[in-house]
């Protein structure tokens, strides 16, 4: 009983405990300035993870996000000069297109989302390589600063990146908890057959979930691209695993239906603290994915709803 009661709070308890442990080992961790830098640094990952939450919440997964972000860094860099800030619309449009495509393949052709999104991800990667000619591209500093310089500014000491992140979190939180799309998502994630029998257009809900995931992956790619002032088909590599970890550690299980975007905020902060700890412990960058791989397995094991699997895992 008490375990069931406590379970929703596990991610937050974990976050607080990890923060305390890291803070004790490294008191500098608590300095407000350092903390703000850390958080601002995690924004692109947070955005990607927020989108991914929708795919996982309906019981699917989106493995294409990293490649979509890669592709977007190239697209942004290529078209920035031509469109300026309006490149944002291209970015959102392309993200929506790829996400929708994943959703369409999943629902119409009955392809499990881990395969369909993997395949769509490779399409995106290929587009990135083709468009970039497999070279690293750089933005013209003036163009970048004119269009996106404000993103890295500060107001009253708060980085604008952080404000963007908060706005996006509030947006998806509203989408999830207040809008009928969020309600439909919950129904599909918790009881898909009952959702079908209630006359919900379940396929449309699923396609939209992947569409949201694609859009947020694209926005993450855009942020990353203007931050690093360039584009490259490998720029966002290393995002996929932490993004999945953030969603699952936050408490949205692979089986879907519970958790949500606020959980993902918590999960992303946990990832941030773990990263900070690894830096402090001088874990080599090449070994970080190893740590996240292990954490992912632990997180899945702790969160997955075994009653939904009916004892069958393949």
């Amino acid at each position: 009983m008490s375990f069931k009661f406590l379970k929703p709070y596990f991610p937050w308890i974990t976050l607080v405990m990890l923060t305390i442990i890291v803070g004790i080992a490294n008191p500098g961790f608590f300095s407000p300035a350092g903390m703000i830098i850390l958080i601002a640094d995690i924004v692109p990952l947070l955005i990607m993870a927020l989108g991914m939450t929708f795919a996982i919440y309906i019981g699917g997964i989106d493995l294409s996000v990293q490649q979509i972000a890669n592709m977007i860094t190239v697209i942004t860099t290529v078209y920035l000069a031509q469109f300026g800030i309006w490149v944002v619309f291209i970015v959102i449009g392309v993200g929506a297109l790829f996400g929708t495509l994943s959703g369409y393949v999943t629902t119409r052709f009955y392809v499990p989302s881990f395969v369909s999104t993997l395949a769509i991800g490779f399409v995106a990667l290929s587009v990135a390589k083709w468009l970039s000619g497999q070279r690293a591209l750089y933005m013209d500093a003036t163009f970048r600063d004119n269009s996106f310089g404000w993103v890295f500014g500060k107001t009253w000491g708060i980085p604008h990146e952080l404000i963007i992140a908060v706005v996006l979190v509030l947006l998806v939180w509203f989408l999830q908890t207040r809008m009928s799309f969020g309600r439909a998502l919950k129904a599909v994630g918790s009881g898909e057959l009952a959702a079908v029998a209630s006359g919900l257009n379940v396929n449309r809900v699923k396609i939209l979930a992947f569409c949201v995931s694609g859009i947020f992956a694209a926005i993450a790619g855009l942020m990353f691209s203007v931050k690093l002032s360039g584009g490259d088909a490998q720029l966002a590599n290393g995002f996929l695993l932490p993004a999945i970890v953030a969603v699952l550690v936050g408490g949205t299980p692979l089986t879907g239906g519970v958790g949500g975007v606020i959980n993902t905020v918590c999960g992303t902060l946990i990832v941030m603290v773990i990263r900070a700890a690894m830096v402090y412990l001088e874990v080599d960058a090449t070994q970080q994915q190893m740590v996240f791989g292990i954490i992912l397995i632990i997180a899945i094991t702790l969160t997955i709803d075994r009653s939904k699997l009916r004892g069958i895992v393949k």
Binding site: M1, K4, R178, M179, S180, F181, G182, R183, A184, K186, A187, G189, S190, G191, L193, A194, A195, V196, A197, S198, G199, L200, N201, G257, V258
Partner: protein, 501 residues
């Protein structure tokens, strides 16, 4: 010989079994009856080792035993014949019979199929089933599968020295009458070697077969009746704890329907492999019941009408309009409500609360620019909780935590509150206790009075006869005969069964 003493079992929030004493003698057949949720299945699971009791002891021949899992129970001679069939459909009969015990046929790491086949034949002979052990289980009828299930448990005879205890959980629910008689015959013959515990909701069957009957209610044994003293109505009263309303199906409340308003017309409709050339009219306020055995096509007709299956030929009209596109979404917009058989999977969304479940089929009535109007949802839910007497602590309660009867009321409320004019009921009382069933019957009458057209697939024939205005008997996907069911001139069970088989 086998004895449970003061067994206690708690689940979170429920005292599932309280001080249960239960014993069975050598060669005895003991019945166990009780309403759903009375604790029958918990008691069963403790006996065959799936659950461990919190208190009390289990003794075999005076020796105390503990079962950590079903395998240990089996090693002590306790076997379970499952209600939901535990056979794997795409394995052969013999593979199923010896599943997990293939070692006896293994030589040098290879299975001797010939030996297994011979041994399986011996097992099948015990249940008087003359089939090839190499048959794929899927190809057997439900009745045959039930017997294979028993044969599988009977392999205990060879493996275990002592006396056996075999649990039969609702073994007759999928059987035709002659198959039931055969099963009873087999069980009686086997009492030399085994004692049986027989669980069924068909009290008359339990009476017929059992030497003694335990009646369980709210986790307590409330009575033990000897075969000779047993009476159906007395046992029913003990199970429910009150008299059953004589007007069980509310027959006196049945009013004639409005024959001038046709809601649904089926004209020569077929769905390949499921049903053929079905025609009928469903009128406002009519309860039309489709009667037939499993596989007669009755559910297929419901699913076509709701839009979950496409018919392959014929014409369907709903409220005078010809239907060309079938989908569940379109079904809802045609004001059709569907109450599926699998309540916990298709009926309610486990994990969503009461108001979320009630408005799920009508989100568009509760949103403005995509934003949900939660106060409006809650007031709707509150009104229907009151109207249908739904027992829930609040509108925020997760529907998965409510009892079956209350879940069913929420599913009904979902469609009623959305203004459905045609309601399809697929086994609406399945798995409900008697009190909750009566509530459902009451609601069916009330809907009919309000001019809602009801297409029903009933759980039992008595239910079908009691509730209907009209009955259509189906067999192998074809229409057999229609019956008018006015109060006072209802067809008999025999009339229906005659056309079903």
């Amino acid at each position: 010989m086998f004895e449970l003493k003061t067994i206690d079992k708690h689940f979170p929030g429920v005292h599932a079994l309280q001080d249960v004493d239960f014993h069975i003698h050598r060669g005895e057949i003991v019945g166990l009856v009780g309403e759903n949720g009375a604790g029958k299945s918990t008691l069963m699971k403790i006996i065959y080792g799936a659950y461990q009791p919190d208190g009390g002891t289990i003794e075999i021949d005076g020796k105390s035993v503990r079962f950590q899992n079903p395998r240990q129970a089996m090693d002590n001679g306790i076997g379970m014949v499952f209600q939901e069939q535990s056979l794997i459909p795409n394995l052969t009969v013999m593979e199923n019979i010896f599943l997990g015990y293939e070692n006896q046929f293994v030589k040098f790491g290879v299975i001797n199929w010939q030996a297994m086949s011979t041994a399986a034949k011996e097992q099948l002979a015990k249940v008087k089933l003359d089939i090839d052990p190499n048959t794929i289980t899927m190809e057997l009828s439900f009745g045959q599968r039930q017997l294979v299930e028993l044969a599988k448990v009977l392999t205990l005879e060879e493996r275990i020295q002592g006396h056996l205890v075999i649990l039969l959980d609702e073994p007759t629910s999928v059987l035709a009458e002659e198959e039931v008689n055969l099963l009873f015959q087999i069980v009686r013959d086997l009492t030399k070697r085994a004692s049986f515990i027989f669980i069924s909701h068909r009290i008359d069957e339990v009476l017929e077969l059992s030497d003694r009957i335990y009646v369980i209610k709210d986790g307590k044994i409330v009575d033990v009746v000897q075969h000779d003293e047993a009476e159906v109505t007395a046992i029913q009263q003990k199970m429910v704890g009150r008299d059953i309303d004589k007007e069980y199906y509310r027959e006196q409340k049945q009013k004639p329907y409005n024959s001038s308003e046709v809601l649904v017309t089926f004209d020569n409709v077929s769905l390949d492999g499921i049903y053929r050339n079905i025609s009928f009219d469903l009128h406002a306020g009519e309860v039309l019941t489709l009667v037939g055995t499993e596989g007669s096509g009755r559910e297929g007709i419901l699913r076509t009408l709701y839009g979950m299956e496409q018919c392959t030929s014929g014409s369907v009209k709903i409220k005078g309009e010809k239907v060309t596109h079938f989908s569940a979404t379109a079904g809802v917009s045609r004001s059709i409500g569907y109450i599926p058989r699998e309540r916990k999977i298709e009926g309610i969304v486990n994990g969503m609360n009461v108001y979320e479940n009630m408005t799920l089929s009508q989100l568009k009535n509760f949103r403005y620019l995509g934003v949900m109007n939660v106060p409006k949802e809650k007031s709707l839910a509150t009104a229907w909780i009151e109207r249908l007497g739904i027992k829930t602590p609040s509108v925020y309660k997760d529907c998965g935590d409510l009892s079956g009867g209350n879940q069913q009321k929420i599913v009904l409320a979902k469609w009623r509150s959305g203004g459905s004019e045609i309601i399809l009921l697929d086994h609406p009382t399945r798995g409900l206790d008697i009190g909750a069933k009566e509530d459902v019957y009451e609601m069916i009458r009330e809907m009919s009075d309000n001019g809602i057209g009801i297409l029903l697939v009933a759980d039992t024939l008595e239910e079908a006869i009691g509730l209907s205005h009209t009955i259509m008997v189906l067999k192998d996907g074809e229409f057999q005969k229609g019956f008018d069911c006015k109060p006072g001139s209802k067809p008999s069970l025999y009339d229906l069964v005659h056309h079903m088989i």
